[in-house]
Structure formats: structure tokens, C-alpha cells
Symmetry: C2
């Protein structure tokens, strides 16, 4: 059985090896993967050995065989369909980010409460938030991204859960809890900055 | 001596109690802090006890005394001055985010390679990236945010390090390494989504 920490590492290896493949590499070494993911080369070799990723005699691993084995272990990578709620400055940046498609991440619809933002005929339609629950239910949406202001996050979360959504990426600085089969990943950019600042200030004293 | 993990928790407690104070609360309980930060109430009480945050007789903690003690432990919160490099869709969203100011985070200048984006008279001036190293050196900039495309991230990183910057928040999907007294925090939104998707897919089997 794969532990959560190992899964996180395997996902990073897959992401790194895919990028290497996109650069034209056909063979990779544990040192390359270590540099790209921040995991030690020893840990990479150990994980690969445990998960049945075989190396080649002359050293290193074949890109295609690493990816094939990781697909078996992590599950076939199907396209994941997301909705996004809150088409403000952060939501708009995420809607424009076409690199998501390389990773099988597809945003199919967005929702907002501001009538000026609504546009049902846009490539990614922007629909009224009052239709959110129904839309998720009829389209069997499993994933959502929340980029609404702090004060609206909980009501949007509840509307998504009512629509059957199972995985939520939340950017509002309010912690939404994973409960009842719904998993929430809270990304708090302020925490990221506060942590950076603390460790810079205290790095000198180490 | 405070470990890294405990520091991360204390930063979260401070952030949560500040938000509670902004809501008008004068007293908080370990359960509130546990809900807001995702740490167990027991761990909150243990950390507070170890760091000398005193509770009150009738239960809970006074907001002002928690914040005063955490300021002593974590260091006085001075305003942190940042530059941002790469004024594209993500960079623009971060420049517009006025909540950073509540946490003492101030972006004073931005840089880009595209002449159409330059505007030295904007509230946050957008300057040519060729001036980045000099600007950081003459203004004693210690922190930077990188929101340039993947291919430009390493050269921007090197220009920042040459300018004396000590802490970098990197959004480009390339891992920049902390080295030589410079600390880099890599935020990879694709990893966040991949991890969410994996745990939703595998949640059912638990
Ligand atoms: N912009 C950033 O760089 C940044 C950084 C960190 C965190 N965040 C967080 O991300 C969230 C979005 O930030 P932003 O800067 O894009 O804000 P914004 O104000 O630009 O956009 C918010 C959008 O949400 C919409 N909205 C409000 N209530 C809604 C509701 N009930 N249902 C649907 N839509 C609703 C608004 O109409 C608006 O379009 C906020 O919670 C913010 O704290 C933003
Ligand atoms: N937009 C998103 O939602 C999102 C999500 C995850 C990660 N990212 C990452 O964040 C970064 C920025 O993404 P974006 O969507 O804002 O891209 P973008 O193309 O909209 O913006 C990039 C900006 O960087 C500038 N630039 C390019 N080379 C530069 C250099 N050498 N020096 C200074 N400026 C330079 C460009 O002129 C442009 O203004 C990318 O690395 C991207 O992979 C973006």
C-alpha cells in the first residue's frame, strides 16, 4: 500500500519525467529527477525499486518505461474536469493558463455573482453562481477551484458539495475542511510568504 | 530552539488570531485556532504552553496577549519589501492583491522584458528587467516573487541573487534551489491539483 508521502513523491517524479520527455530526453538519471523534485537521489532510487521501475544496464532509466510504470502505479491519467468559481483577478489568471491542459486538467465552466462578468458564449462560459449546484450535478463535475473573496468561500463550498463535487482547490484565505468524502486542498499564498520571510530572517542565526 | 514544523504552526496561529482580532473577537479558544489552522486543539495547547502563551482562568486565551507573545517568539513583524518579476496574468493578479498589506507584505516595484508593459509612473512602477540587479542592490531588496515563464526563471533567479535578494517565492514550474544563503519557496499549482486529484480518486478505496 502506498503511503501519502510516497504518492506525493511519485506524482512529482511523473511530472518531472513528463517535462523531460517534452524536452526530447529518452533516458533519465536519478540525479536529474532528484534535482527537479527536491528529493534525494537515494530516495528516488529506493522508490523506483519498491514500485518496480527498472533501470537499464548502462545506468539511468528509459523515460518511456518510467512513465508506463508510474501510470500503472498511480492510475491512468484521465482528463480531470474542473469548474472555477470567482472570475476575479486570480480566477482570470487561472482560466488563461493553458499549461493545465498538458497535465490533463480542463476547466469547462466558470461561475460568478457579478452580472457584468457573465458570458455564456465564451470559450469557457461564465455562468451565474445560482446555477452552480445544478450545473455540477447534471454534468457530473468532480473537481472545483474556489477563487472568491473570503466572505463567500463557505457558501460556495456548500453549493459545490451539494452538486456532488469531490475535490476542491481553495485559494480564499479561509480554511475549508475535508469532510464527508469531499477533499479540500487549501492553498494560502500569505502563509507561503510568511514562512519564506521567517526562514530568511532566521537563516543567518543558524 | 524552535523546529521548522513548530514555526510553521506558530505562523499559522498568528495569522488566524490576527484574522479573529480583525473580526472583533477579544478572546479565542484552542478549538477555534484548531479549526482555522488544521492543527489539533491538543497540539495548539501544547505549543502555546511551550512558548509561554498563557490562558485565562475562565478558559481560552486573550487575543492581545496571544499576539504579543507570538510577536516575541516569531520576531516583530516588520514590513517586508518585495519586487515582482514577470507582469503577466498571474503577476498582475498578485500586484492587485491589496490584502498583502494587512500582513506587512509590500511590493514596491515590478519588472518585465516586454516594452509594452513598462510604466515607470504607475503606483507600482514596471521597470525593464535589465535594471533588476541594480535596483535590488541600490534599494536593499531582500525578497522577490518570480512569475515569468519556465524558460526565463533561472536567469531571473540569478539576476536576483546577484542583486543581494535573500528570499524568493517562485511560481514558474521549475524547481529553483535554495543555496548560498538564498531561500527559495517553490509554489507549484500543478502539483497541488495533481495531489488533489490523486487523493479524490483513491479516497473511496480507503
Ligand atoms: N489575487 C491574488 O493574488 C490572491 C493571492 C492570494 C489569495 N487570493 C485569494 O483568492 C481569492 C480571489 O482573489 P482575487 O484577487 O481574484 O479577488 P477579486 O475580488 O478580484 O475576485 C473575486 C471574484 O469573485 C466573485 N464573487 C464574489 N462573491 C461571489 C460568490 N458568492 N459567488 C461567485 N463569485 C463571487 C466576484 O464577483 C469577483 O469576480 C480571494 O479569496 C483572495 O483572498 C488572491
Ligand atoms: N497563470 C496561472 O494561473 C499560473 C498557474 C500556475 C503557474 N503559473 C506559472 O507562473 C508563471 C507566469 O504565468 P502567467 O500565466 O502569468 O504567464 P504570462 O505569459 O501571462 O506572463 C509572463 C510574463 O513574464 C514576462 N517575461 C518573460 N520573460 C521574462 C524575463 N526574462 N524577465 C522578465 N519578465 C519576463 C512576460 O513579458 C510576461 O509579462 C509561469 O511560469 C507559469 O507557468 C501560472
Amino acid at each position: 500500500i502506498t503511503t501519502d508521502d510516497k504518492v506525493t513523491r511519485l506524482l512529482r517524479y511523473r511530472s518531472a519525467v513528463r517535462r523531460m520527455k517534452a524536452m526530447g530526453l529518452s533516458r533519465v538519471y536519478s540525479d536529474n529527477i532528484a534535482d527537479a523534485t527536491g528529493v534525494s537521489a537515494l530516495q528516488v532510487r529506493k522508490d523506483f525499486c519498491e514500485e518496480g521501475v527498472r533501470g537499464v544496464r548502462r545506468g539511468g532509466y528509459l523515460v518511456d518505461s518510467v512513465l508506463a510504470r508510474l501510470e500503472e502505479v498511480l492510475g491512468k491519467d484521465t482528463t480531470c474536469v474542473f469548474v472555477l468559481v470567482g472570475v476575479g483577478s486570480l480566477g482570470t489568471a487561472l482560466l488563461k493558463y493553458d499549461a493545465f491542459a498538458h497535465y490533463g486538467i480542463k476547466i469547462v465552466a466558470a461561475f460568478d455573482v457579478d452580472p457584468a462578468k457573465l458570458d455564456a458564449r465564451a470559450p469557457i462560459p461564465v455562468l451565474p453562481v445560482k446555477d452552480l449546484t445544478n450545473y455540477c450535478r447534471t454534468h457530473h463535475i468532480r473537481y472545483a477551484i474556489i477563487t472568491v473573496p473570503e466572505g463567500a468561500a463557505i457558501e460556495v463550498y456548500e453549493a459545490l458539495v451539494a452538486g456532488g463535487v469531490k475535490g476542491i482547490l481553495n485559494f480564499a484565505p479561509v480554511r475549508l475542511r475535508s469532510a464527508g468524502g469531499v477533499i479540500v486542498n487549501n492553498v494560502n499564498l500569505v502563509y507561503e510568504i510568511e514562512q519564506l520571510v521567517y526562514f530568511v530572517k532566521h537563516a543567518r542565526s543558524k
